[in-house]
């Protein structure tokens, strides 16, 4: 069933702090690029599926409807999907199923993420009140009482457990940001492109121990868009959706009983996707993995089945995840260096994998890439979605 749907076109803006344009204008730019990339008539777009704009903004309502009006697109399917950082990949799944079951022939998934920077937040009492309300909802009745405003402490403790249980040292984790920055130096759309060393990482400020500044994703803005279509309508440039998996734990941020150093949802969603595509992790040539912090990114490599438990840091050190390695991971620069605009991030990942599978990734091209993987998560990796894409 999934082989009936292709990624027909992709578009994205630069990932950075944008000044002088609005979320709507960035969404429009990404959608235009994706439609033109797909080479289809705008009038053939029958669906617009979007995500919210950001976590910290008191956002406008009815995003898809605004875009439909702005670009004069009439639709048969319209929806806004919210499932945290996995939202836009889940939105792609929703549209994929709509196309596979024959309701629509082609449609667009888009996300334009915008969050206020800490400086902007501090300057606006109205936004701070919104942030407090959001934190209450996000971190629940108990944890929010500690004044938590970011998920970083949870990630820090989960990385601490991983290091404790697997004997991983700080320098083992610090290698990953160096590699991601090297990849980003070849990506004109990346937020950070200047090369760094392990010493730079380890001497950068500690945010929440054991997380260093250069092991953390930045706050970025950006928009992404993907055109999905029935296979017959655009086979030539098409990248097939070969498999999809999704799983959610019974927890939100802090797991109440489960081991914090493992991510069952990532393991389960990957297993479902591999099985549907009829492939193994070793068959994947190129992957975009959603890791907001270096430590958890390494843990996700293991849960996705690329390496055994505790072995990802060594694999990175040995070059196994580099552009010319066994499985090239985060050739875009990943969340740490491409930048992280959570609602749009999965679409940036599909953008990168699509370019790689078409052979259009320029300096970052993985030789003869045939099979790619896209991964997204929400909460503190309490839920996960995995999509496998194949070269047409």
């Amino acid at each position: 069933m999934k082989a009936d749907v292709v990624i027909a076109g992709v578009g994205m803006t630069d990932v950075r702090i944008h000044e002088g344009s609005t979320w709507l204008e960035r969404a429009v730019a990404a959608i235009k690029e994706a439609i033109e990339d797909a080479g289809i008539d705008k009038n053939d777009i029958e669906a617009l599926v979007c995500t919210p704009i950001g976590y910290t903004v008191d956002q406008e309502k009815f995003i898809a409807q605004r875009i439909a009006e702005y670009l004069a697109i009439t639709c048969r399917t319209m929806a806004e999907v919210d499932c945290g950082g996995a939202s836009s990949l889940i939105a792609v799944r929703l549209l994929m199923n709509e196309i596979a079951c024959g309701r629509v022939g082609a449609g667009v998934v888009f996300a334009s993420h915008f969050d206020l920077t800490p400086e902007k937040l501090a300057a606006s009492p109205q936004e701070i009140m919104h942030l407090i309300r959001m934190a209450n909802g996000m971190y629940g009745s108990y944890d929010s009482r500690l004044g938590i405003l970011s998920p970083m402490p949870y990630y820090a403790m989960c990385i601490q457990r991983y290091m404790h249980e697997c004997g991983v040292k700080p320098e083992d984790i610090a290698r990953l940001p160096v590699l991601l920055r090297e990849n980003a130096s070849k990506n004109p759309r990346a937020h950070y492109r200047e090369r760094i060393t392990i010493d730079d990482v380890l001497s950068s400020r500690i945010l929440c121990p054991p997380i260093h500044l250069l092991e953390s994703c930045p706050v970025s803005h950006g928009a992404g868009a993907v055109v999905l279509a029935k296979a017959s309508s655009s086979e030539v440039r098409g990248v097939w959706i070969a498999g999809y998996g999704e799983a959610h734990d019974d927890s939100h941020f802090m797991p109440s009983t489960a081991d914090m150093s493992t991510f069952p949802a990532v393991r389960k969603s990957a297993r479902e996707a591999y099985s549907q595509a009829g492939v193994t992790p070793q068959d994947i040539d190129v992957a975009e993995v959603y890791g907001a912090f270096a430590g958890v990114e390494l843990m996700c490599y293991e849960e996705l089945g690329f390496f055994g438990r505790g072995e990802a840091p060594t694999a990175v050190a040995e070059g196994k995840t580099s552009i010319d390695g066994d499985v090239a991971i985060n050739t875009s620069g990943g969340r740490l260096s491409l930048g992280h605009a959570p609602y749009a991030t999965p679409l940036f990942e599909i953008y990168e994998i699509t370019k790689q599978l078409r052979g259009d990734a320029g300096e970052r091209q993985v030789k003869d890439a045939r099979l790619g993987l896209v991964h997204a998560e929400h909460g503190m990796i309490n839920g996960s979605a995995v999509m496998i894409l194949g070269r047409a």
Binding site: I132, Y142, L149, M157
Partner: protein, 130 residues
């Protein structure tokens, strides 16, 4: 008690914080399957039983993980926070750990203590069991 930093949709949480104002650390127990779970809920997360009773916890536990927040809504100086596996209940609590950073290790026994938060209500913290 301040409505600031509270979720008014969760009556069990409000009861928990009300009890905490009197130095009582409580949660709920299911009368049907006998499970004591934390945080408290008005329904059992295992068997969905609706007959629950409030019970006091010993306040002892073990440090599962810890880190430091450099800044938050509640403080402007670095503060140690951690997750405690609770004795006598299924579940964990995220709390302030009032101990020198250098003395902390995963697995250390800790116990609850109470303090006046900057927002004018009493909060829990954990200290090392000596």
């Amino acid at each position: 008690m301040s409505g600031f930093l509270s979720n008014l949709e969760d009556s069990a949480a409000l009861r928990f914080y009300d009890e905490l104002q009197n130095d009582r650390f409580v949660t709920t127990r299911c009368k049907r399957c006998a499970l004591v779970f934390f945080p408290p809920r008005i329904i059992c997360p295992d068997c969905l039983g609706e007959k629950i009773e409030w019970v006091r916890l010993s306040g002892r536990g073990r440090l599962y993980a810890f880190t430091q927040q450099h800044q938050s809504l509640a403080h402007s100086k670095p503060q140690v926070v951690g997750i405690v596996d609770l004795e006598g209940a299924r579940g964990r609590i995220f709390s302030i750990i009032d101990a020198p950073w250098e003395e902390l290790e995963i697995g250390l026994p800790v116990r609850i203590d109470f303090f006046e938060s900057p927002f004018g209500f009493k909060m829990h913290k954990f200290v090392l069991e000596r």
